[in-house]
Symmetry: C2
Subunit: 337 residues, 2 copies
DNA sequence: TTGTAAGCGTTATCAT
DNA sequence: ATGATAACGCTTACAA
């Protein structure tokens, strides 16, 4: 593969001049510039990104660490991130499949070895301390979907608790009093906060949720089906079901339908996330919009700008997003079972 | 950031020795090795991947070029690819969002600048010639979802034509004679081949499709709805609808349902791809399984192995996959309209 | 406007 | 078993 040296030789100039042409540097005669460009094209020259990263001590890439690409939620997030990278013509280094803290850590370390200075990471497994440490070392380190007070200006996150409140308010307004909850068996912050929001809001209206009407399962369609199955088996009474996410809601809904229970006439179902599935399933799912793509875009922009202006770290700005309700067909006024 | 030199100084040894320790090279005293490792840990040493790539003239990364990450189909593909990279502890360089030939080309070029030798690319926009050229230059260049004869051993692809035949056979066996087709308005190879498979098989049974019963639209849910709308408006007669993909099938189905036409009792609907949506929608979609994750895995393995054993390029092996039918609820024996 | 030369962090080939 | 030292391809003062 042709190097800068080959070009210089062929053009009868020095390395420096070629380098200037490559980088659109100033102080190069128009004639020489044109000639060199011509020769580069002829010889199929391609700059060596590694050499460049080495000498400049910087890698203009955006590192991305995600839990799971095949999940539509993460795919949408990745899409948002990728769109800003593409617009700025920046290469994305992706690591997904990290669900354990070890894998997450390794992913970040690999990115660091590439001297990647901008990265948006989704981490549920690593400790606050570990992440704070990374944030110190990496100028453009942005956390998505997680809030850590000490590095608040590095966090782009969703107010899950507020989401829970919104759901409860909506259901309350429609006259629902017996409410079931289907949540994730992984009781990390997201599901816990959402449930707490629902419960607190309900409590404010003098309603408590029957312990019998809470089911935990895997946060996917199968989990939703199973959880609903269990609810039905136990004979729990409810006119509305709050699911941890859309996938579980869809699963719960199909199980309800399979049992001849009409949604939303007999039972209302509400999801969370507003992934594409929410529009596909029947009845169409009423859910909370998780503006994940928008958040991904914000996170990517933040990471990139922090990585370049290494000074502007200490802002007081904060990046909290609040989910809003998307009314479709799966929720109605309280019926009688 | 600490370099190999810093470590060498701190340990009172030469660069070479430290390098040997890092690479688990032989010929290093156990005591020295231990001491150096200790110091590396203390100083938080991280090898510089760029320097390494420069001197070794190779980048142990896997480049991935996709059209659109937010599409569940591509997300699944990416997931397959990523899983093998992760297993082999290889960094993924991702470029998505390439729908035009310029973007695709740029994505590949960027990867080349990083001296990436293994890549799996999904390209619909670039010409055969351009791709053949890349395949020549890049040892581990693998094309997914595309077949080019001259570089057949670099192609991991699906037999769309066979898929069309399978669909037709299935419908024929159930007594369907009046069949409508909803295809993509982008008449690139995939939709064309699928339709041709259907038509040829039908023709073999003496059945031709009414030109009136063919609709093209965008290959998504909205497109499916619109196409079905048009079919209905035109008063086309059919007992079964063959859709280009699951999204269109789902759209068509919901439009049918909205018009009070029962699926599959009055009209059968069959999709293609078997994305997650096929299991979510109601009735559950009968469709053809596109083993995209499996294919992604194959492609990634191929790319990586080709990139390392630069000799084994000229095999006669070929990587064709055949879609198989997944029977669910949306297809039944021919009814009367 | 152009050239010279040092150096980025590693690996790898020689010596020792 | 360990050390010097020359690359790798590029950018960037500093000279000319």
């Amino acid at each position: 593969m042709a190097t800068i040296k080959d070009i210089a030789n062929a053009a009868g100039v020095s390395l420096a001049t070629v380098s200037r042409v490559i980088n659109n540097g100033p102080k190069v005669g128009d004639a020489t510039r044109a000639r060199i460009k011509e020769i580069m094209k002829e010889m199929g020259y391609r700059p060596n990104a590694n050499a460049r990263a080495l000498v400049t001590q910087r890698n203009p890439s955006l590192g991305v660490v995600l839990a799971e690409l095949s999940d539509p939620f993460f795919a949408t997030l990745a899409h948002g991130i990728e769109s800003v990278a593409r617009k700025k013509d920046i290469q994305v280094l992706l690591s997904s499949g990290s669900i354990q803290s070890k894998t997450e850590m390794k992913a970040i370390d690999t990115l660091m070895e590439h001297r990647c200075e901008a990265m948006v990471v989704h981490s549920k497994a690593l400790s606050d301390d570990a992440l704070i440490e990374y944030a110190k070392e990496i100028p453009g380190f942005i956390l998505i979907n997680r809030y850590i007070e000490q590095i608040a200006n590095r966090c782009v996150w969703l107010d899950n608790y507020a989401g829970g409140c919104t759901i409860a308010k909506h259901l309350l307004a429609l006259g629902h009093k017996k409410i079931a909850i289907i949540s994730s068996q992984y009781q990390i912050d997201d599901p816990v906060l959402r449930t707490k929001g629902v419960e607190d809001e309900l409590a404010a209206a003098g309603i408590t949720i029957d312990r019998n009407a809470i089911e935990l399962a895997t946060p996917d369609q199968e989990g939703g089906e199973q959880a609903m199955q269990n609810l039905l088996t136990k004979g729990a009474e409810f006119t509305a079901v709050v699911a941890y996410n859309d996938a579980m809601a869809a699963g719960a809904m199909s199980m309800l339908l399979d049992h001849g229970i009409s949604v939303p006439n007999q039972v209302s179902v509400i999801g969370f996330d507003d992934v594409i599935l929410a529009r596909y399933c029947r009845p169409k799912l009423t859910t909370l919009k998780y503006p994940i793509e928008m958040m991904g875009i914000k996170a990517a922009e933040l990471a990139l700008s922090l990585a370049s202006n290494k000074q502007t770290d200490q802002t007081d700005e904060t990046y909290k997003y609040t989910p809003t309700i998307v009314k479709r067909e799966s929720v109605a006024i309280a019926g009688h079972q």
